[in-house]
């Protein structure tokens, strides 16, 4: 299968400036610092990471809502960075975005009908008023909204319904790529599943390719075929979902998985290995391996030499000098993940060094 989108060495630095008139650059926040990945036609790529790891910036760069500092994005052979004017507009028709916050991503002064019709107006589609309204109502029906609510305002809808409006707007132009940036993190638990199921159904029906960004690893596992884990502007591990969740190789992935609370009290009271401290500042990331300051396996070499993304045993691609072994995965993530039955999990208490929480 050919990739729909190819991202190569994507970099986005936000300059930090000092001074009022003669602004000089005193540094840069390295939000995205050399990210490469492909997204295949029809697949779902998940991007996970903590706050400030650059996942949302990556999404915005891919959709060209921002210009990259360097690097290239190729969408169906077209260089996304080089498009201008009408060509950029045509490109945006094929890639749409669903935003995180359904409260601030809808204009409160416009009716739902006109919000969803906006893409048609911008791209000059369905110019007949009756036809446009019919299309909008079709879309509303498709995402599970009552088409009669065409003339209502966003405040009359609940969070879950607003997110459906955002989805309807994003699929209005029948894009090939949908980028969903934390689409459910602002929603109530009982509503999240509704929106996740909607995205899955739409993907199946429309053959959408999806880039799904989230910080919730269990949601990502549920939605995605492949997952990229980001840390401080770089991808540290990328693997098919099944591989990533059963045999993570990068210690950061392992730590993320270990931190996820599981709604099962028997597995909950487990001895866990916690990451210490906070994410370092992206303005001044650690040298070499960026994770070495928090990594339980870090050695001398990790602060000297930057590890590159390379294939590791098990089918995962990770940037680590000392990847996790199967034994370590079994002991550090005692809660059996994906497919492994809970009875098969090793019962030995984790011999891994337990560090005090900072």
């Amino acid at each position: 299968m050919t990739p729909l989108i190819e991202v190569r060495d994507l970099v986005k630095h936000f300059p930090i400036k000092r001074g009022l008139i003669f602004q000089r650059e005193v540094g840069a926040v390295k939000a995205v610092d050399g990210v490469s990945f492909d997204v295949l036609q029809g697949e779902t790529l998940g991007i996970v990471g903590e706050t400030g790891c650059g996942k949302s910036t990556t999404a915005r760069l891919v959709c060209r809502l921002m210009d990259p500092t360097s690097g290239s994005i190729t969408f169906e052979g077209r260089d996304v960075g080089a498009q201008k004017g009408d060509k950029l507009k045509a490109l945006h028709r094929d890639m749409q975005m669903v935003f995180q916050d359904p409260y601030s991503s809808l204009n409160p002064r416009k009716t739902i009908g006109s919000i969803i019709a906006d893409p048609f107006i911008i791209h000059g589609l369905y110019t007949g008023a009756g036809e446009r309204k019919r299309r909008v109502q079709d879309l509303m029906d498709r995402v599970g909204l009552n088409p009669e609510h065409y003339n209502r305002y966003p405040h009359e809808f609940s969070g879950g319904q607003r997110q459906r409006i955002g989805v309807a707007r994003a699929i209005a132009l029948e894009p090939k790529l949908l980028v969903a940036d934390e689409p459910v993190s602002a929603l109530d638990v009982s509503i999240q599943a509704q929106v996740l199921n909607l995205l899955r159904d739409l993907q199946r029906d429309m053959g959408l390719t999806l880039i799904f960004i989230a910080h919730d690893l269990s949601v990502v596992r549920h939605m995605c075929d492949r997952v990229a884990v980001m840390y401080l502007g770089k991808i540290v591990e990328m693997a098919p979902s099944d591989v990533l969740y059963t045999s993570p190789r990068h210690p950061y992935t392992g730590a993320l998985l270990a931190a996820v609370p599981v709604p099962d009290p028997t597995g909950g009271k487990r001895e866990r290995q916690l990451l210490t401290g906070d994410v370092p500042s992206p303005a001044n990331p650690p040298r070499a391996c960026r994770f070495h300051t928090r990594c339980p396996k870090a050695q001398e070499r990790c602060s000297q030499e930057e590890p590159l993304l390379e294939g590791k045993p098990g089918g995962s691609v990770a940037a680590c000098h000392f990847p996790l072994t199967d034994d370590e995965v079994a002991t550090r993530l005692p809660l059996a993940l994906s497919g492994r039955s809970r009875s098969a999990e090793p019962t030995a208490s984790a011999p891994a060094p337990v560090e005090p929480a900072n």
Binding site: G160, V189, S190, P261, G339
Partner: protein, 410 residues
């Protein structure tokens, strides 16, 4: 159970607004034992935050109406005067709020805020309080605490702000710590750190914790007992094991099934709870959950369920009109991964006799002050009439049994 640290009895909180009366908390009862953790789970608008704010007297206002009793070490917080309340709040009972950035004052240094919290409750010199503040920051795992005291909240990261909040809450060695969504604004790695910290502090200091969250994973990690709230009421309460291993309320099932989990098969279908949380102004009739409940029957729109013990357990109570044998079979079906339609069939297979026996029920209406008897006896009749098939004879009688406060004493 006189040894309980906190006893909440039939607490009702309503607010008068221009749109009508908001029944935020509608008759909840629970107890917290010293040194134990109670988890309160619910969605936004289920009344979980209001109930905990009321526990430290923060919902008092001209527009609010608070009924019921909140006994903290025998003193009733509801009727307490403001001065005595101030002695309790922040001293014996402390609270951690959801968003540490808006809970800390941006203009004052973190150290000054910690010192203020201590000086408000005890005679302590400034320098002694500062020393203690540094100790507290150290206790909650903030490196270089002396230097951090002189920093402002914006110089702290999200996780550190939450740690500073916890330090402030601990400054007067409270007997009860109320944590309202303490980790919702945090990353999963930091969340794990904060939960581990709370557990560690509880073990060392022996305080009781009420943790309020919408995340079932969080309560599974930390809580001994769990109360599930919906529409201002507790719909199910039990030990952590009971709630996760044999949940009884359809809403609890819905919560458990609507979130993807790391320990379930990857392609498992999520089953969302249909509809959305009800308005607290115009609440549904009968069982408040009936508009979203796939197993609701006609009678459930009229009869208001109250908390009743689940068979074979002294601590597990549920407010559901389905017969316990039906609930048991549906839960088995859910565990076996049946789809929604077949679950509904399971539930309705045994519904017919129940429906017939339920028809002559006196209607339990929403209206305030109606005689509680008809509803109670009607409910008992409905459930009592059901021939139990798979379970030993259901015992549904002990409404109002001491120690099992009923949820709905109208």
């Amino acid at each position: 159970m006189s040894d309980a640290l906190l006893t909440v009895e039939d607490l009702r909180v309503s607010f008068h607004t221009d749109d009508g009366v908001v029944h935020a908390v509608d008759g909840i009862s629970y107890q917290v034992q010293p040194g134990k953790t109670l988890g309160i789970v619910g969605e936004s608008g289920s009344g979980k935050t209001v109930s905990s704010l009321t526990t430290i007297g923060l919902t008092r206002s001209r527009r609010s109406r608070i009924e019921g009793r909140i006994l903290f070490e025998g003193q009733d917080i509801v009727t307490m005067d403001d001065d005595s309340l101030r002695q309790v709040r922040g001293n014996d009972v402390a609270m951690i709020f959801q968003d540490p950035l808006s809970a800390l004052h941006p203009f004052y240094r973190v150290g000054a805020q910690l010192v203020e919290a201590m000086q408000a409750h005890r005679r302590i010199s400034r320098s002694a309080a500062r020393d203690r503040a540094a100790e507290l920051l150290d206790l909650v795992g903030i490196p270089d605490p002396k230097r951090r005291l002189d920093q402002y909240p914006h110089e702290f990261s999200g996780g550190m702000r939450q740690r500073a909040m916890i330090a402030m809450a601990l400054s007067n060695e409270p007997k009860l710590l109320i944590a309202d969504e303490p980790t919702t604004a945090l990353d999963v790695t930091v969340q794990a750190q904060i939960l581990a910290l709370l557990e560690d502090l509880q073990a060392r200091l022996g305080m009781a914790i009420i943790i309020i969250t919408h995340d079932l994973g969080v309560v599974a990690e930390i809580a001994d007992e769990i109360a599930v709230m919906y529409s201002g009421r507790i719909v199910e309460r039990g030990s952590s094991d009971e709630i996760f291993n044999s949940p009884q309320h359809p809403y609890t099932w819905g919560l458990l099934r609507s979130i993807p989990r790391l320990d379930s098969p990857r392609d498992e279908e999520l089953v969302p709870i249909s509809g959305r949380p009800p308005s607290l102004i115009n609440r549904p009739s009968g069982c408040h959950f009936h508009p979203r409940c796939p197993y609701a029957r006609e009678a459930h729109k009229r009869v208001d369920p109250r908390l009743a013990p689940v068979d074979g357990s002294s601590s597990h109570v549920v407010a559901c009109l389905l017969e316990s044998s039906v609930r048991e079979r549906v839960w088995e079906g859910i565990r076996a991964g049946r789809d929604r339609d077949s679950l509904v069939r399971i539930a309705s297979a045994s519904a017919e006799p129940a429906l017939e026996s339920a028809t002559p029920i006196a209607v339990a209406e929403e209206s305030e002050g109606s005689d509680p008897r008809p509803a109670e006896s009607a409910l008992a009749r409905e459930e009592g009439d059901v021939p139990s098939t798979s379970s030993p004879a259901p015992v549904h009688r002990p409404f109002g049994r001491p120690g099992v406060p009923t949820e709905d004493d109208r």
